[in-house]
Symmetry: C2
Subunit: 189 residues, 2 copies
């Protein structure tokens, strides 16, 4: 019988695409096996278990997003960089809802340390250099910035903004204005 040519990479990519279509929770080993025209059990030659697959999708998404953010930041500084970062983040989340959701799963410390999450943290700090904050304010500001981005995108996706007619795009733009303002004038202790 001919071999299907399944590899971990192809499985991860197909899983990511499936996640974007039907949601991470529906990315099942069985569904992927069907997609490759192979039996479920065969995939356990490539994957440890179903959770392993989801972790791989998360790592893929982290790396993809880091690449996008890096490209968006190139040659920018200050508010320009802030907005570019933010939009890269939000656009990715909207274009790849399943991948974005996968990114939220809890990685164990070693995996997280070896992931592209580290690049994200570095880039976030790079942006804040334009605002001249010293520690521990810088850490607090990075956390607030990331919280704002993630919170907005997450609420937007789960329909948290649906009950008001105001366009989410407009609120997003104004939220970035506000974030820039507070980073520029970070409150003293």
């Amino acid at each position: 019988m001919a071999r299907a040519g399944v590899t971990v990479e192809r499985l991860t990519l197909a899983g990511a695409e499936l996640a974007d279509e039907v949601g991470v929770e529906n990315v099942t080993v069985a569904a992927l096996a069907r997609h490759f025209g192979v039996k479920d059990a065969s995939l356990y030659f490539h994957l440890r278990n179903a959770q392993d697959l989801r972790v791989r999708i998360a790592l893929l998404a982290l790396a993809e997003l880091a690449d996008r953010v890096a490209a968006a930041l190139a040659g920018r500084a200050g508010k320009d960089a802030l907005v570019a970062f933010a939009n890269a983040y939000r656009d990715y989340a909207r274009q790849h809802p399943g991948r974005y959701a996968a990114m939220q799963i809890d990685l164990d410390p070693e995996t997280a340390a070896a992931s592209a999450g580290v690049r994200h943290a570095e880039m976030a700090r790079a942006i804040l250099r334009g605002y001249r904050l010293s520690e521990p304010d810088q850490t607090d500001a990075v956390r607030m910035m990331h919280s704002t981005f993630h919170g907005f995108v997450s609420l937007e996706k789960t329909g948290g903004f649906r009950h008001t007619s105001r366009a989410a795009d407009d609120s997003w733009s104004r939220t970035l204005d506000a974030l820039d303002a507070v980073l520029t004038n970070w409150p003293p202790r």
Copy 2:
């Protein structure tokens, strides 16, 4: 054979407690049936399906949190109210991780409109009255505030702050300072 005395309310409460212990994704009809000493199929007399159960848990959580926030806001205004709201929100999320996670599921519009989510929106706007913002700034500010709270709590839970030693509590407190500052000085268009 004696009746177990199962009701939708008891199922929802037990489901919520189970969610806090093992996570919403592990709140299964079968597990609840075991908890009540009853067969799985019997629960379908009380529940439409497994998703129905999760929605009920979400609605319970929304109502509980709204009660807490209302109590926290009583007699407070300005930054005092902002901080009380924020802490009620974060404390609830940390004490009830499963319930909080359940709150994030996507409710259909009618269900959402009939839920305690409406009270949340009203209370959020009530806080902003202290900052004297007019529309559409008020809507944008509510969204930013909510995004910040939810994003922070969500990232904290999934371990997004673990790689830096700075205590999350401290960043939280400073984030609230910053949020208060930007609401006080909302940037002009």
